[in-house]
Symmetry: C2
Subunit: 193 residues, 2 copies
DNA sequence: ACGCTAACTTGATCTATATCAAGCGTTAAT
DNA sequence: ATTAACGCTTGATATAGATCAAGTTAGCGT
């Protein structure tokens, strides 16, 4: 049954680029399973990220804190990679925290091991490049979105494009994710029903 | 004197990861020089990006258009890479245009050649990964910035962190880049003098 | 099942910033 | 040299969404 977790990871990685059996054996041996309870943190603001995660099951949120208010940056679900990735790459203090919104099952790999794998295998290096590209493309989209639309438009777009997350994530986090207050979110919700 | 342009590219690339002479010879042969006049476009919204650029000299701006209004996404200067990078990677229609703010000298490489180089050389693949990482880290920072600060705070932060761009870029573009109107920008400017 | 806390709703008010409008200075074209 | 076009400034007004405050609901721990 732990097999399933590694199979999920394998599917995810080979979705980017093919990997030989030998490479997979080495690669996969470096990942360990971790479980984390609801409300616990993968990492807190100001810490340096040493791990890169794969979410097998659960929901997590990334958020920064500004003057005591939380600013929700994003979410990770089943099949996503997670972690304070910019801190992980640059080894700078993380500007945000990652917290489990549900009990979650993850795989993690530490930075040293991952970087050794990058050195050792071109396929893994390629996966790293393509994964970075995917994240980057998503962030570029979101940047334009955030600046192009009103609160109402952003609400409706989220509703159309990711209806499932309304079930998974408390409204206040969705509101913050869309850059509005919980009150505004609630009013939009009422309006559209 | 064209040497200087290639030397600048070499310095930029090897700043990420070392590259052998043979690799460099092959890699550099795939880049061609392009010149572009002030106000001309590298790419327009809706087109698919086939090239990846290196700015030897000049200033460019990337902007999206929403309801006739321009939303400035970012700038490229001497020593930066440029292009509609997400369109280049995903081969989807670009959501933004790139326009020269000054007469500019660039190097460009087409996608096919670059991807062949990724296949051929692990060092180039690594450069690709690290370059993606750098862009990604920058975008993550900017995302948090854009959401954490008021117009005034954003203005002051830009003034402190990148005073040079006040000389290079018209105010209206800086205003849009910071997510405010030109009027608001002008008022903040007056206030702080 | 009960009580407590946190999430959500609803209404009243406030405010940062946008919008609209008009004028000024500088550059560029005729 | 004159005018047109554009970028910047300044003032008046409008508004989306925030903030503040109070009440309601729902989930969680004991």
């Amino acid at each position: 049954m732990q097999d399933k977790i590694y199979t999920a990871l394998k599917n995810k990685v080979t979705g980017f680029t093919p990997i030989s059996d030998a490479e997979w054996a080495d690669f996969s041996s470096k990942w360990q399973m971790v479980e984390i309870n609801k409300d616990d943190y993968l990492i807190k603001e100001g810490q340096i990220e040493h791990y890169f995660y794969f979410v097998f099951d659960g929901v997590l949120r990334a958020f920064a804190t500004k003057d005591g208010d939380e600013i929700c940056i994003g979410f990770s679900y089943n099949g996503d990679f997670s972690g304070a990735y910019d801190s992980f790459l640059a080894q700078t203090k993380s500007e945000f925290a990652i917290q489990a919104l549900t009990k979650s099952t993850l795989l993690k790999i530490n930075r040293e091991n991952l970087f050794l794998l990058f050195d050792k295998y071109k396929s893994i290096e390629r996966w790293g490049r393509l994964f970075n590209a995917e994240i980057l493309i998503g962030m570029a989209k979101r940047q334009v979105e955030a600046r192009s639309y009103s609160a109402e438009e952003k609400y409706l777009r989220l509703l159309n494009q990711s209806p499932h997350i309304f079930q998974l994530v408390p409204q206040k986090h969705l509101a913050s994710y869309l850059g509005m207050t919980a009150e505004t979110f609630s009013r939009l919700r009422k309006k559209k029903r």
